[in-house]
């Protein structure tokens, strides 16, 4: 999947300015940036939710998982119905498919009959991922999917992302403001600042030998536990 020279404008304001990123098949590209860097706009453009200029090649089915698991599920729809929305299987096989998808994200099949309000944030986020997987995407865009979750839950969702990538060979564009999280899940890292891509390379290289001044200041600002 290739994003080429993608630009998004809102009136006279350019939110994303000529960004090119390549996501190899089965690869995870992490996208970091601070608020206003244009990373979420890029996610929405790639997912076809906002109009853009430029080209996106090599991915026809793109799905996105949103930041807020409380807003991304229809409160009036059962979990099963939400997950089934993207499933293309014939009616008879639909239930089995929903169960399979819930199994993929480690949720028991009984969850299908429940409503979002009965689930925790982490469980909702899993449902949202299962719903996206139902459409058999060739690219999954994950926009800050752990930032609304508690730390103890965040770890298990990150593990899930890594497992899905290994088991399904899923290509993922993983967007976060948290460099440590991005480093943990991604093969390569793209850094955005003020709508522009300032650095893009393999994770180790970006983290250990950043070339851009902004990447360096971002790395320095990451809080770390001092291990004695």
């Amino acid at each position: 999947m290739k994003i080429e020279n993608l630009t998004v404008r809102y009136g006279s304001f350019t939110a994303v300015d000529g960004v090119s990123i390549e996501v190899p098949p089965g690869g995870v590209v992490g996208l970091v940036g601070e608020s206003g860097s244009g990373k979420s706009t890029l996610a929405r453009a790639v997912s076809g939710l906002v109009p853009y200029e430029g080209r996106i090649e090599g991915a026809r089915r793109i799905q996105m998982v949103f930041q807020d698991p409380y807003a991304s599920l229809d409160p009036r729809m059962s979990v099963g119905a939400s997950v089934a929305e993207g499933v293309r299987a014939p009616r008879a096989q639909r239930q089995a498919e929903v169960e399979r998808l819930l199994g993929l994200v480690s949720l028991p099949a009984e969850v299908a009959t429940r409503y979002p309000r009965e689930l925790s944030g982490g469980q909702r986020q899993r449902v949202a991922i299962a719903r996206a997987l139902g459409a058999e995407p060739d690219l999954l865009v994950a926009d800050e999917i752990t930032s609304a979750l508690d730390v103890s839950v965040q770890g298990s969702v990150l593990n899930l992302v890594k497992r899905l990538r290994e088991e399904l060979g899923l290509s993922i564009l993983f967007i976060s403001h948290n460099l440590a999280v991005v480093r943990y899940v991604s093969d390569s890292v793209a850094v955005m600042h003020g709508g522009k891509l300032v650095e893009f390379g393999p994770t180790e290289q970006v983290v250990d030998e950043p070339t851009h001044e902004y990447t360096r200041s971002l790395l320095e600002a990451v809080p770390r536990l001092v291990r004695h």
């Binding site: 601070e34 608020s35 997912s47 076809g48 939710l49 793109i62 799905q63 996105m64 949103f66 807020d68 807003a71 991304s72 599920l73 229809d74 409160p75 009036r76 729809m77 939400s82 929305e85 993207g86 925790s120 982490g122 949202a128 719903r131 996206a132 139902g134 459409a135 508690d150 730390v151 103890s152 839950v153 965040q154 770890g155 298990s156 990150l158 593990n159 890594k162 403001h177 948290n178 460099l179 440590a180 999280v181 480093r183 943990y184 899940v185 994770t203 983290v207 200041s217 971002l218 790395l219 320095e220 600002a221 990451v222 809080p223 770390r224 536990l225 001092v226 291990r227 004695h228």
Partner: protein, 607 residues
């Protein structure tokens, strides 16, 4: 459908509306004949035993006429509401279907009409449609349509912008299906609930038109028409106006009360109710004269026996930066609020001792306590966008602390404010002081809030998630500033955060909370490798940092933290999620010292 709340107004409203419906059904068959009975011998009478509300110009009984008119009045109101809602919903839905430019025209027309008094629209329509019931129904219907259109527009726009609709679009769900499965069900309920209120409005509007002689014309009659007839006789027999007036008022009140209750039900959040459980505070130990802050046995209780903070003890030494860390729902923010005396009603703080700067808050007079808390305690909250008053200039907000508590003149206070702003490294502090908060960036605002805390002589700064809403690079600057302020002024800091990495970077000592209690307290040097409590260890292991091994899965804790209402009274609250739990954990472990400045509440650790 949301349930109707059981408050007296809601019950009264439901009762009145039911009564009106019954009246509309049984009124005409029961009293219809009597209402039309012409009696030449009894025209234009006042109240009498035979005719409690008097008679009209043909000697017909007015009470019977009022009772019979209910069906017609309500029927017209219902028709009017349906017309108004129909036009309104179509107008409101149009912008979603039309091309963008045409949609914008519809939207701005609706906006212009909403601001236009309904009665004028009704008059205009009535002039065209002609005098009589038809004109009045159309007129009032047109008058209530813009309100419905606006409501439909806002509701549809909020649902259409929801993430779940975006998700459905990406899944390739057809537009029409999105409309029927997501948009309509989510806007139908508030619209239906609004019909009740609109019905009340329509009824009053129609009554008004008939009262002016512009609505229902004889020989038909509704309550408004009866009032029109009665009003002309008000100097002679005022009681003849009473019947229809009461009928209109009661109907209006009934629909309004019920409509209000329904609207509230649609947007209701349940508040905890019940009586508060009396708690006997545990005995307190000897006070520590050195400590800036000393809390022992602090509990925060809400009605129903919900206790988000449980017998918490905490000591902060001068100049020390203590991190209070925990997940959402652990009680860490309420602990901060309790220390600052800001626990929201109906929460009750009970504690054996709360000492600030060597003074026991329980022993001070209200006046002294206000002064002590106002000058010795500084608070910083999470959202710098919300912590400053948008209507007041930054400088004035800082200065008032000095004016109120230190008796400074305005000029002195202002000078001090500018000085403090400079202290937190705001560029051109004099200029910033004259600005409104919205002219400052998030990081600058948080600096201004910290500067506000420095207007007094703070002994303790309580910072509740002060960097959570900020970008990492700004977060770093604010952390640095907090450390600098602490070093310079000697103020201690209680830093509350969900982010154990941030706490690890800033603080000297870390206090970990789980389900309202402290589970571990340790010096920051031991945090990364020396933590003993299984929860602390799991928290640290589940947090990726720049050194985490990427080939290994992150630790995660199964299950979730019990909510304050579910915390077990006996036993360790973490036992359900703990890999090390044994039968012993059915008894709650207390916080036991484990080496220097390190204490842990876990059986597995002491044994």
């Amino acid at each position: 459908m949301a349930r109707l709340p059981r408050t007296p107004p809601a019950i009264a409203g439901a009762f009145i509306v039911t009564l009106l419906v019954v009246l509309a059904i049984i009124g005409p068959p029961l009293w219809g004949e009597q209402a039309e009975l012409i009696n030449a011998g009894a025209i234009l009478q006042g109240a009498s035993a035979e005719h409690p509300l008097g008679t009209d110009n043909l000697g017909r009984d007015l009470l019977a006429r009022v009772l019979v008119a209910g069906r017609f009045s309500l029927g017209l109101a219902l028709l009017t509401t349906l017309i108004g809602a129909g036009i309104g919903i179509v107008l409101g839905a149009l912008p979603a279907i039309l091309p963008r430019r045409a949609g914008r025209v519809v939207t701005s027309t609706v906006n212009a009409l909403v601001a236009f008094p309904g009665l004028l629209l009704a008059m205009f329509t009535a002039v065209i449609a002609g005098l009589g019931a038809k004109g009045a129904v159309l007129g009032i219907g047109v008058a209530i349509a813009p309100g419905f259109a606006r409501l439909t527009q806002t509701l549809a726009a909020s649902v259409a912008g929801a993430d779940y609709v975006a998700a459905a679009r990406m899944l390739g769900v057809p537009r029409r299906r999105i409309l029927t499965t997501h948009v309509l069900p989510n806007i139908a309920e508030p619209l239906i609930l609004n019909l009740t209120q609109a019905m009340g409005g329509a009824l009053l509007g129609l009554a008004g038109m008939s009262f002016l002689g512009l609505g229902v014309q004889p020989p038909s009659f509704d309550w408004g028409r009866l009032l029109f007839d009665g009003f002309s006789r008000i100097y002679v027999t005022p009681e003849v106006a009473l019947g229809p007036a009461v009928a209109v008022a009661v109907a209006g009140i009934g629909f309004n009360l019920l409509g209000d209750a329904l609207a509230k039900a649609a947007s209701r959040t349940t508040a905890p109710t019940g009586k508060s459980a009396g708690e006997v505070p545990p005995p307190a130990g000897e006070p520590d004269p050195e400590a800036v802050l000393e809390v022992s046995g602090l509990s925060v209780t809400f009605p129903g026996g919900v206790r988000p903070v449980r017998e918490l003890s905490l000591t902060v030494a001068p100049g020390e930066i203590v991190g209070l860390v925990g997940e959402s729902g652990s009680g860490k923010s309420l602990t901060a609020a309790a220390i600052g005396g800001l626990v929201p009603y109906p929460g009750v703080v009970s504690g054996a001792r709360l000492r600030l700067a060597g003074q026991d808050l329980g022993e001070l007079s209200e006046q002294q306590r206000r002064k002590l808390l106002g000058t010795s305690l500084a608070m910083v909250f999470q959202d710098p966008m919300a912590s400053l008053n948008p209507a007041l200039k930054v400088g004035g907000q800082l200065a008032e602390v000095a004016v109120v508590h230190q008796g400074a003149t305005r000029a002195e206070a202002r000078e001090r404010a500018v000085d403090r702003l400079g202290h937190v490294h705001l560029p051109e502090p004099d200029k910033q002081a004259r600005r409104h908060p919205h002219e400052l960036s998030g990081g600058m605002r948080q600096r201004a809030v910290i500067a506000m805390g420095l207007m007094g002589t703070p002994k303790l700064i309580i910072a509740d998630e002060p960097t959570t809403a900020l970008d990492v690079t700004v977060q770093r600057q604010i952390l640095r500033l907090l450390r600098e302020v602490s070093a310079e002024t000697g103020a201690a800091t209680l830093f509350i955060s969900h982010d154990i990495a941030v706490v690890g970077e800033l603080c000297d000592r870390v206090v970990v909370m789980y389900a309202g209690r402290v589970v571990e307290e340790l010096p920051v040097e031991q945090l990364a490798t020396g933590a003993r409590h299984p929860y602390t260890r799991a928290l640290i292991a589940s947090l990726p940092d720049m050194e985490t091994d990427r080939t290994q899965p992150l630790a995660s804790i199964p299950g979730r933290q019990p909510s304050p209402a579910q915390v077990p009274e006996q036993g360790c609250a973490f036992a359900d999620r703990c890999a090390l739990a044994t039968s012993r954990c059915a008894e709650r472990p207390s916080l036991v010292s484990y080496g220097k400045a390190h204490s842990v509440a876990c059986w597995e650790v002491d044994s």
